[in-house]
């Protein structure tokens, strides 16, 4: 590593004194969290697929009405909340604090609606006799996987709503920056993204014809 190379090297983004990805540390940190959380969810979904391969009597209990209609609605609601989050981030970048907070409240409302619908769906399943350990249709692992994976996802949604609440309040009062809103947005979109895999794998692959 001699000084001959020095000057050319110093111009590159990786030569120190700069963030090479041109993003703040918080944003990079959130991306890294997302990478690791993706692996957690992948492990869960791979466990689901593994269990399904090894249990040929896997039930297919979801009829169009109510399960698929419900879950499709949930998907659209979650996607909509992602869109409102995008709007919030864009507003924050224009430094429009009021609009940002409003869009974030809309996002929280989307998240809460998603959770309400999801819990409604859960209770419906409980009524039919499906719990984490038992279900009337087939291998007991179905309930374990279903409630395990969706429960984990719902925990993320809940954390996301709380996180949104904190950032919205803080941003409204001028304590947080636009970057904080953007980082919060990354988390929220990630929760949405995970659902894009949970929905087809857990629901659509178990449709009752």
């Amino acid at each position: 590593m001699h000084d001959v190379k020095t000057d050319a090297a110093l111009d590159s983004a990786w030569s120190g004194g700069a963030s090479p990805f041109a993003m703040g540390s918080k944003k990079l940190g959130m991306w890294l969290f997302i990478v690791s959380d993706t692996l957690t969810f992948s492990a869960l979904l791979i466990t689901y697929t593994y269990s399904r391969i090894t249990n040929p009597d896997w039930p297919k209990p979801f009829p169009m009405n109510p399960a698929i209609i419900f879950s499709t609605t949930m998907t659209v609601v979650l996607l909509a909340s992602s869109l409102t989050m995008v709007m919030a981030v864009m507003a924050a970048q224009r430094n429009d604090r009021k609009k940002t907070v409003l869009w974030m409240i809309a996002t929280m409302a989307g998240g809460l609606t998603f959770m309400a619908l999801h819990l409604r769906e859960w209770f419906h399943l409980f009524e039919e006799g499906a719990t984490i350990t038992h279900n009337p249709w087939g291998t007991p692992l179905f309930g374990a996987v279903f409630f395990g994976v969706t429960g984990m996802h719902m925990t993320h949604v809940l954390i996301g709503v709380i996180y949104l609440g904190i950032v919205a309040t803080g941003y409204g009062r001028g304590k947080f920056s636009a970057e904080d809103v953007e980082v919060n947005g990354l988390y929220w979109h990630f929760v949405d993204l995970v659902w894009m895999f949970v929905f087809p794998l857990v629901y659509l692959m178990s449709v009752k014809y």
């Binding site: 990805f21 894009m196 692959m205």
Partner: protein, 107 residues
């Protein structure tokens, strides 16, 4: 004080219209998925199609909503492959193992 520095550099994102279009696309793909679910396809084929569509959706969310399309490209080169490699390793071996284990079930 550094908000501005970031804001100038990184926030040449998509317009509201583009984001809305992406959103409509996502909803449309979801609809397609639900439709496919009722087509009684052979499970492996259906799984492949569903996962394929989900990956498209994930790519759309990551590129536009999560802004990855507008970040430095090296971020994509750096982060995503490591993660995908791990997931791929798990899928290759875990699923081989699942099928192998099926062959060893008690009669």
């Amino acid at each position: 004080m550094n908000d501005h520095a970031h804001a100038e550099e990184a926030h040449a994102g998509a317009s509201v219209g583009t984001n809305l279009a992406i959103w409509i696309g996502l909803v449309a793909i979801t609809g397609l998925e639900v439709f496919l679910a009722y087509e009684e396809l052979q499970p492996t084929l259906m799984l492949t199609i569903l996962i394929g569509l989900s990956l498209v959706k994930a790519a759309m969310i990551m590129s536009y909503f999560m802004h990855l399309k507008f970040e430095r490209f090296s971020l994509v080169l750096w982060l995503v492959p490591a993660m995908i490699f791990c997931i791929a390793m798990m899928m290759i071996f875990f699923f081989t193992e699942a099928y192998w284990g099926m062959g060893l079930r008690p009669h």
